[in-house]
């Protein structure tokens, strides 16, 4: 029996089931493989806040832009951040106007840029979930060991488990289970999600691996179980990557953090420990950023919680398209709205 047939058999006669994925790479993989279209009608996949770029707030982008406009500053960033809107403009526009904004592949690349430009300050936009945060922490340690003093980090890293906790407590969000983010779990370990009271499965990224995880979720529903299963055993261990966790905890500590569209989630962000203040952009170059709420009809807060589908937003596909996006979910290649737009979500 194929995986899809197994899913059909398990879903038959059941109430409508909603499973949420909380990883942008899963979102894209699910759309690209057409998985939504082959599932039974009563099994719905919804996307949660799984894209770190999408949940980064205007204020962070405004701070990055303010730094980019300073003399003697080089901004280093992952490419996904370039077009995320701040309250007035984005980094790509600031770069086009002459600011030095460089796209890097690894946080370690920042060290090289800093060494090659001793008269300048390099600021790395440290965005990401548990997968990426340890790479920034390791870069901080490497910079310290090498005596690099002109490299700063602007932290907006976020932690996935506190966000899931908040979603479960939100009565507007109805989910019957989670597809857990595979590469976040590589670092945190599957056990970090044991607090969930609903079925949950750590999933890989190939279409077959996603279907396998869905079979597991449906079996749990069928048998009335709610546990954390691991269907990505090739790289995910129960305890995760202890070396990465240790380096992360050495450099960063959890802090309450604002998520775009979701509000402040307790202990869901990371800030640098006092010991590393010399690498903390906010400490070394403090900014006065005015909080300016952008007025827009963008409904990313509801999209990011799976409360509405992107097509239910009045801007989707009209005022908001990848080439002239209003919200970050349309800009990031792993954003929910971008996936719906690109892979035929308009027809669904």
């Amino acid at each position: 029996m194929s995986l899809v047939e197994t899913i059909e058999n398990l879903a038959r006669g059941k109430k409508n089931l909603r499973f949420m994925e909380v990883c942008g790479t899963h979102t894209v993989a699910i759309f690209r493989a057409g998985i939504r279209n082959i599932l039974p009608e009563n099994v719905e996949l919804v996307s949660g806040p799984g894209c770190p770029v999408c949940v980064t707030g205007d204020e962070y982008i405004d701070a990055a832009i303010a730094y980019a406009k300073m003399d003697g500053v080089i901004i280093a960033t992952f490419g996904d951040m370039l077009k995320v809107p701040g309250s007035a403009e984005n980094l790509a526009e600031v770069a086009a106007a002459g600011a030095d904004v460089r796209v890097i592949y690894s946080p370690l690349d920042c060290i090289k840029i800093a060494q090659e430009n001793p008269a300048k300050r390099v600021i790395f936009l440290a965005v990401g979930f548990e997968t990426t945060a340890p790479t920034a922490a390791a870069a901080v340690l490497a910079a310290r060991n090498l005596g690099v003093t002109n490299l700063l980090f602007l932290s907006a890293q976020k932690l996935v488990p506190p966000a899931l906790k908040m979603l479960l407590a939100d009565s507007a969000v109805r989910v019957d289970g989670f597809l857990l983010p595979g590469h976040v779990a590589v670092v945190t370990g599957a056990d970090a999600f044991r607090f969930l009271q609903v079925p949950a499965v750590v999933a890989g990224f190939e279409p077959e691996e996603i279907l396998l995880a869905l079979v597991n979720l449906l079996r749990q529903v069928d048998e009335g179980r709610a546990e954390v299963a691991n269907e990505y055993k090739s790289v995910v261990r129960a305890e995760g990557n202890l070396a990465a966790q240790k380096i992360l905890a050495q450099v960063y500590e959890p802090v309450d953090a604002e998520w775009r569209g979701l509000g402040v989630i307790p202990k869901s962000g990371l800030k640098m420990r006092e010991e590393f203040a010399a690498f903390d952009a906010e400490k070394v170059l403090p900014l006065e950023i005015k909080k300016s709420a952008r007025k827009t009809a963008c409904r990313c807060g509801e999209v990011l919680r799976g409360v509405i589908k992107p097509v239910e937003c009045p801007l989707f596909g009209k005022a908001c398209q990848p080439l002239h996006a209003v919200g970050p979910c349309m800009i990031s290649v792993e954003g929910i709205c971008a996936a719906w737009y690109k892979y035929g979500g308009l027809r669904l």
């Binding site: 790479t135 055993k233 990465a244």
Partner: protein, 78 residues
Amino acid sequence: MCLAFPAKVVAIEESLATVEHSGVRRQASLMLLPEAKVGDYVLVHAGFAMQVVDEEEVRLRDALVAEMNGAPRTVFTL
């Protein structure tokens, strides 16, 4: 954002590994995976090796990708 790919460690110099996949070689730091050895397959993310990957899983994945690119069917069970 959390994209990662499996690659084989072909050389290690201090905490920097040279990794290879499909003939492409890159550097990957072993700061977050000090236990990696030459010959291991590792999952690489943002220039860092993040975990040792089960070699059989890599072989299976490569065979599936080859099938999608038109190679004869070689994978029958998952």
